[in-house]
């Protein structure tokens, strides 16, 4: 089997090279054979998918068959590993995850190559770019990170097992989601670069890639938050985001991708920001690769040490080459990127997009800067420094708050120009509402729990928290006012109830109102982040019947014991949880010892409510008396984060649904609102 897998990858490399080279020759050639050559390149791309899929399938089968003759399976699986994790072996290590990356890229390429009739020339251009990226990954898999490398000497009876931290249900879906996001940004980049290289006229590539970009963005969002949820549920330090370089690596392309999703509207609707957009889509692709370089080269220290290796040089070269190719093509063809319209006013939707993009890119720069600063400091000062959460809180939060202001104001601005009077009219009530909420949170007693009793003068974290909540309320009110205003107009003309009117409103412009729902989800997430200012924790040794109090909760240790399963041995404590004198449940924090890998892992017990999470960690046993040591965290508003992500994803799916047909909309409009406009005039 390993031989078949290796051969499949080698053949896939050959076909990818053919796809790229034949595609380029066909694009530059004016001769008769250009069209058939393009077609053979397309088919070679499809064949690449089949071969990479075969290789991935062989690796998964090897994991299920416990084929420890393959070094990768020996290092990342064992006989007692449950079936879902055996499947997840594919992306659990360096070589497998690169194979998985390559598989996803070839799958995206397959979809693109099957839909080529939309625009044969443009799709051929994009196919060449994807094939070129594919060549890089297949070169890595063939020469530097071989997933089918075989063990030397005798075959071991059992494997080392999967990293215990990865043995969690979300780990079966988190990496695929994240990779679908990372790899997916290759598609808009491929179309952008293809259109630039071919001097393809118009904004067609933008329209084609709009859905690709949204789907990819949705996957990346999902991947990032699944990772955050995994960190929260498994790592046992009580938090969900640690500003680790690996986390930063996923955030950077997300930020530029989000900026692109906004600025692309200006190109689509007004033919503006063409140069900016092509750079933004390149930056997103490049940052996804840079993130992989950061986490796998070992150049920046990270808690994700399992992913470090010596393939950093390959990535560095690929980053350099892709940058050079892009810059050369950009300067060669930049004349076709001239704006078709000019910006007419500082108070307009266009300018709000410009500032929005500035802030997204600045946030991305801050994350990149913070990630690289230890290295820069080491080079210039000779000593390394740590850049952790306090730095990002200090720098990124003010920028994020500015972004929230824009999120609130942006939807109220019209394209081209907005009068200050109209802005004041639309903005006044939401602003009063937000200020009212801020005032209420400040004057309420702290005994009400989070987020009440926020005294911004007591601590900067309270100030940020109050600002974040007040601005989130502002966004919610502006979004709601947009829905109500639109729904009211439809309801008035059709006689439908408010809910049906709003459904019709969304259906008439799914992208716009889906986008608003995404904004709503984002602010719900931000309210969840704002809760961090109220977090508390406490550590205590707990014998039988011992009590610990945290916030409104009292924990009583009922028992502690150990257990033995096939894959791991465990120690755990059972605690009764009381609130207001009443028992509301029991919790069992656990510590596991995985036999194959001989590693320990904590399994926190979490009791989630809308206002706070009670989070218990089994830290270990006191060697003197055998009593468990427990750490309790009271984390405020965490559930809002997970709810907000669901809302964001629902909004993204809504934005992907096609609008109601324009003809039906026009007919409906004509039926209930006859146009009395003066005729439009124009010159000869």
């Amino acid at each position: 089997m390993p031989v078949v897998g290796s051969f499949a990858l080698l053949l896939a490399l050959v076909w990818s090279v053919y796809c790229a080279v034949a595609g380029i020759v066909a694009a530059v050639s004016k001769k008769d054979f250009a069209a058939p050559l393009t077609e053979t390149a397309r088919r070679a791309g499809i064949a690449t998918f089949a071969l990479v899929f075969l290789a991935a399938l062989i690796l998964v089968i090897a994991a299920f068959e416990n084929d420890f003759s393959i070094a990768y399976i020996f290092h990342h699986s064992n006989r007692d590993l449950p079936a879902p994790y055996k499947f997840a072996t594919l992306w659990s290590g360096q070589e497998g995850s690169l194979l998985f990356w390559s598989l996803l890229l070839s799958a995206y390429g397959l979809v693109l190559r099957l839909r080529y009739k939309t625009d044969v020339r443009l799709f051929a251009g994009a196919s060449v770019v994807i094939a070129a990226v594919q060549v890089f990954f297949l070169l890595l898999l063939t020469f530097a990170a071989r997933p089918f490398a075989v063990m030397q000497g005798s075959i071991p009876p059992d494997g080392n097992g999967l990293n215990p931290l990865l043995q969690y249900p979300e780990m079966v879906i988190h990496p695929p989601m994240l990779y679908l996001g990372y790899v997916g940004f290759t598609v808009p980049f491929a179309f952008g670069l293809g259109a630039l290289a071919l001097r393809h006229p118009g904004e067609k590539w933008i329209r084609i890639t709009r859905r690709w970009t949204m789907v990819t963005w949705g996957f990346l969002t999902c991947g990032i938050f699944l990772g955050a949820h995994w960190a929260y549920s498994v790592l046992g330090w009580g938090g969900y985001w640690g500003w680790d370089p690996v986390e930063n690596a996923s955030l950077m392309p997300w930020l530029t991708g989000t900026a692109f999703l906004h600025s692309v509207m200006m190109q689509e609707k007004r033919g503006m920001l063409k140069t900016w957009n092509i750079w933004l889509v390149f930056a997103t692709f490049w940052l996804a690769i840079l993130g992989t370089f950061l986490t796998r080269s070992g150049i920046i220290s990270s808690v994700h040490a399992f992913a470090q290796s010596s393939i950093g040089d390959w990535f560095a070269w690929f980053l350099a080459i892709s940058l050079i190719v892009f810059v050369v093509l950009f300067f060669k063809n930049k004349s076709q990127l001239r704006s078709e319209h000019k910006l007419e006013s500082m108070v307009s939707r266009e300018s709000s997009f410009l500032f929005n993009n500035l802030l997204f890119v600045l946030l991305c720069f801050t994350v990149l800067w913070g990630t690289w600063f230890p290295k820069i400091s080491e080079l210039l000062q000779g000593n390394k420094v740590t850049v952790g959460a306090p730095f990002y809180n200090h720098v990124a939060i003010p920028v994020a708050l500015l972004l929230l202001v824009l999120t609130a104001v942006g939807p109220l601005l019209a394209w081209r120009k907005t009068s200050l009077e109209s802005l004041r009219r639309n903005f006044m009530w939401p602003a009063i509402g937000a200020m009212g909420v801020a005032l209420f949170l400040m004057i309420t007693p702290q005994s009400w729990g989070s987020p009440f009793g926020l005294r911004p003068w007591q601590d900067i974290s309270y100030f940020y928290s109050l600002m974040a909540i007040a601005l989130s309320v502002l966004v919610i009110l502006t979004v709601a006012s947009e829905f109500f205003r639109g729904g009211y107009v439809i309801s008035k003309h059709t006689g439908q109830n408010a809910f049906a009117s709003m459904v019709q409103l969304i259906h008439r412009n799914t992208r716009r109102y889906g986008g608003y729902i995404v904004h709503f989800g984002v602010v719900v997430v931000i309210i969840g982040f704002a809760g961090a200012a109220f977090n508390q924790d406490k550590e205590q040794e707990m014998g039988y019947g011992d009590k610990m109090s945290i916030g409104a909760y009292t924990l009583v240790c009922r028992s502690y014991t150990d257990d033995d399963a096939a894959n791991y041995a465990s120690e755990w404590a059972m605690l009764d949880v009381f609130k207001g004198g009443n028992q509301i449940g029991s919790m069992t924090p656990e510590r596991r010892f995985y036999k194959a890998s001989r590693q320990t892992s904590t399994m926190p017990a979490i009791r989630s409510t809308l206002d706070e999470d009670l989070y218990l960690v089994f830290e270990g046993l006191n060697p003197d008396n055998g009593h468990p040591i427990l750490k309790a965290h009271l984390n405020a508003l965490v559930m809002w984060i997970w709810i907000g992500v669901w809302i964001m994803l629902i909004g993204t799916v809504l934005a992907l649904i096609p609008n109601a047909p324009a003809s039906a909309r026009v007919a409906a409009r004509a039926r209930f609102s006859p146009v009395h406009a003066e005729p439009v005039v124009t010159g000869d």
Partner: protein, 169 residues
Amino acid sequence: MKSLRHLRSRLRARTSKAVRVVAVSAAVLVAMGAGDPATRFSKIGHRMMCICGCNQILLECNHVGCRDSDGMRNELMASLTRGDSDSLVEQGFLQKYGPTVLAAPTTDGFDRVAYILPFAVLILGFGLIVLVIRAWKNRPAPAIADRLRPVRGPKLIRFRDQARQETDL
């Protein structure tokens, strides 16, 4: 004119007074809330890193059997009990464990650049956008033809579609 100038100077004086009052009140209130040892332990502990190599904040290190974090927490508590100021505690840790013990760069020397650069880029970007918008606004508008005539038929539909597309309606 004179009364306008007088009004402006009064307004400036009042604003300046209000800012001073707010700043002094904030400083007093912050100082009031800063003395609690448990709060200080939590605040300083979250500004330090555990040095065991886990890359975690000192008070968040949950490594089973970590040999460093317990000792460091005890040291921190001892310093606070002694009555050391925040900066003295941080200096002590810095000298003992090196600069990586602090969870964020200091605000001295080259480390200051870490904080300055993002805001410098923000100001630069903001200024650049304002300049770009002004330059675009000042571009001469295309000349309007002398003889205008109403648009009807397919052209009108096309213009309406364009307007609809550009205004999202």
